[in-house]
């Protein structure tokens, strides 16, 4: 187990290293970074001042040195400054983090609290109408584009019915219910895909376990159906959904970018999109680096949870 843990940790570090290399190379591919601060023709900037700026920004050093300086600063929490208003990127990310984190939490709760029960019901009543409905729900969740669910949800619940707000997180002075209302549409939009995966995973795990020898033995010795389902099957079937949770949070990042964009949610995903539209490269690399670290952290957790949840799994 320890060996496995170190191996995964080493993988995660290596992937992070690869991600930083990709981000760094791309940030240099875009052209001379000095041009982000001064126009190509100099724009009234004398050559000596340009040289001074180059030395000041450390752009006269070899690329490899620049890379390590960049990484060293990033490790210390300095992700550079936004080109737009010179705010430190780390401050901007830190400000937007709660909104994204809350949304991740509610979407995950929604996904697991709908997906797992649906999967169980669907496997117990296999072939029945609930099974068809649950599988339909899962099918839609996997085929509907997130951004389209968001738009249709706004169209129905915000524009036509006017039940729920379509934009933002609401004011800090709002009542709890007002704030909750802002969460409903983004949460469901973001959680549906994950819920579909939970349903599928739980259903197939339950079906497989209900078919295994120890369940047949339990049935044969006269254990009641409820005990078989909840005590024998359910606890074993929970392993795949639990291990999926970390992957859900990792995959959440992509979904969050889209959902935050549609619902004008003041989170980090929207920050990344704004960086794209404003050509704010420092901000974009900062957010991508932050998200990559979060993503790799959660995939690492997913690997760990396999080991913790099911000691039978062999690692090498």
């Amino acid at each position: 187990m320890t060996r496995f843990l170190f191996r995964r940790l080493y993988f995660a570090m290596f992937s992070m290293f690869a991600a930083t290399i990709i981000v760094f190379c791309m940030s240099r591919l875009i052209g001379d970074p000095l041009l982000l601060y001064a126009q190509a023709g100099g724009y009234g900037m004398p050559p000596e001042q340009k040289e001074y700026l180059r030395a000041y920004l450390g752009l006269d050093k070899p690329l490899i040195v620049q890379y390590f300086v960049w990484i060293w600063n990033a490790l210390q929490g300095d992700l550079g400054k936004s080109l737009l208003d010179r705010t430190p990127v780390s401050t901007m990310i830190w400000e937007k983090l709660p909104a994204t984190a809350y949304l991740a939490l509610t979407a995950w709760l929604f996904a697991i609290l709908t997906g797992v029960p649906l999967g169980i019901i669907s496997s117990i009543k296999r072939g029945g109408i609930t099974d068809y409905l649950a599988r339909g729900f899962a099918l839609f969740g996997q085929a509907l584009p997130t951004f389209w669910i968001a738009i249709v949800a706004i169209l129905i619940f915000a524009v036509q019915l006017d039940w729920l707000p379509a934009f933002g997180m609401g004011e800090s002075t709002d009542t709890f219910w007002e704030k909750t209302k802002h969460f409903i549409l983004p949460t469901i939009t973001l959680g549906w895909g994950g819920s579909a995966t939970y349903t599928r995973l739980t259903r197939s795990a339950m079906l497989e376990i209900m078919d295994s020898e120890f369940i047949k033995l339990a049935r044969a010795k006269g254990v009641s159906t409820n005990t078989v389902i909840w005590k024998h099957a359910f606890r074993n079937a929970l392993i795949p959904p639990i291990t999926y949770s970390a992957l859900f949070l990792a995959g959440f990042i992509t979904g969050a970018t889209v959902v935050e964009l549609v619902f004008s949610w003041p989170g980090i995903g929207r920050l990344a999109i704004q960086a794209v539209t404003n050509n704010d490269f420092a901000l974009l690399t900062g957010t991508v680096l932050f998200f990559s670290a979060a993503y790799l952290f959660f995939t690492f957790l997913a690997d760990l949870s396999y080991g913790l949840a099911d000691p039978r799994i062999r690692y090498d």
């Binding site: 791309m26 970018t257 974009l284």
Partner: protein
């Protein structure tokens, strides 16, 4: 619960599960409209008509003549744009998938058959690759390379190759110790001949199943990239882009975002159905996919 099995709609449903008529029909429509888009589209997908700005679909009250699914914010025909969008989707997916399959399967064959250090190197590359947050790197790439159809194809090919390596390699590992491969070796067949003549035909099923299941994901990813502005640039009629362009006019003219999204949904759902069905028919061992 079994009483529901006698209701005819469920019988019909089960028939569809056995032979996916509707998905195949939808995909046939997609391919035909994609190939014959210029002949089929009633209007040009890019010509603007400001008189028909946000015009309602022709079958609605007050709908505009000749705008079957309405007009967008500059009066282009949404129906024609969806038809041409099918063509864009088909081209992008076909080219990126073909390159992904080619690179991925080749590397999978090499890794599985050679083993050793080569195998280790290829598989570690795949591991790292699959661990990267793809859409975010695509955002950066879109800025660096500039959004264009070629960039999207390249990004999607980069997105898809790694999963083929894993499945093909796993398949090759189990195939290469089979008797007929050993016999071919004894008979003096060269490595290339064994891989191409004896192993490749047996992994084709796996490749087809994985490819069909990936197409839906590719279409969704392309649409998502276009939606967040890192994909196909305007004024190309790409479905994801259309949803994004028209979302500002949602409260007055819902049809602009609704119909392109519906097209994406129908196609992806059909592909998922077809993929599931093919998997059960051709390669039931991939059930975990």
């Amino acid at each position: 619960m079994n009483i529901f099995k006698n209701i005819s709609i469920f019988k019909l449903w089960n028939a569809f599960r056995k032979w996916p008529i509707i998905p195949v029909f939808i995909l046939a429509v997609l391919i035909v409209t994609g190939v014959f888009a210029p002949q089929l589209a009633p209007n040009s997908p890019t010509s603007q008509d400001l008189k028909l700005r946000n015009a309602a679909p022709s079958w609605m009250d007050g709908g505009a003549e000749g705008r079957f699914l309405g007009g967008d914010h500059v009066g282009r025909d949404i129906f024609s744009r969806i038809i041409h969008g099918a063509r864009i989707s088909l081209t992008v997916v076909a080219i990126s998938l073909a390159s992904g399959v080619l690179v991925g399967s080749t590397l999978g064959l090499i890794a599985g058959y050679t083993g050793g250090l080569v195998d280790e190197l290829i598989m570690r590359l795949v591991d790292v690759w699959l661990a990267l947050p793809f859409v975010l790197l695509a955002l950066i790439a879109a800025i660096v390379l500039g959004p264009s159809v070629q960039t999207v194809m390249l990004l999607l090919a980069l997105f898809t190759w790694a999963s083929f390596v894993r499945y093909v390699r796993a398949e090759v590992l189990s195939l290469k110790s089979r008797d007929y491969v050993n016999l071919a070796k004894v008979a003096g067949a060269s490595t290339t001949r064994i891989i191409i003549k004896h192993i490749l035909p047996n992994v084709v099923n796996t490749i087809i199943v994985v490819a069909t299941l990936r197409v839906g994901q590719l279409i969704l990813t392309e649409a998502t990239l276009s939606f967040i502005g890192a994909g196909i640039p305007a004024p190309t009629p790409a479905w994801g882009l259309m949803v994004s362009e028209e979302k500002e006019y949602l409260s007055s003219s819902w049809w602009g975002s609704f119909f392109p999204g519906l097209a994406i949904f129908l196609v992806v759902m059909s592909l998922n159905f077809l993929g599931d069905w093919l998997r059960d028919k051709l390669d039931p061992r991939l059930r975990q996919l």
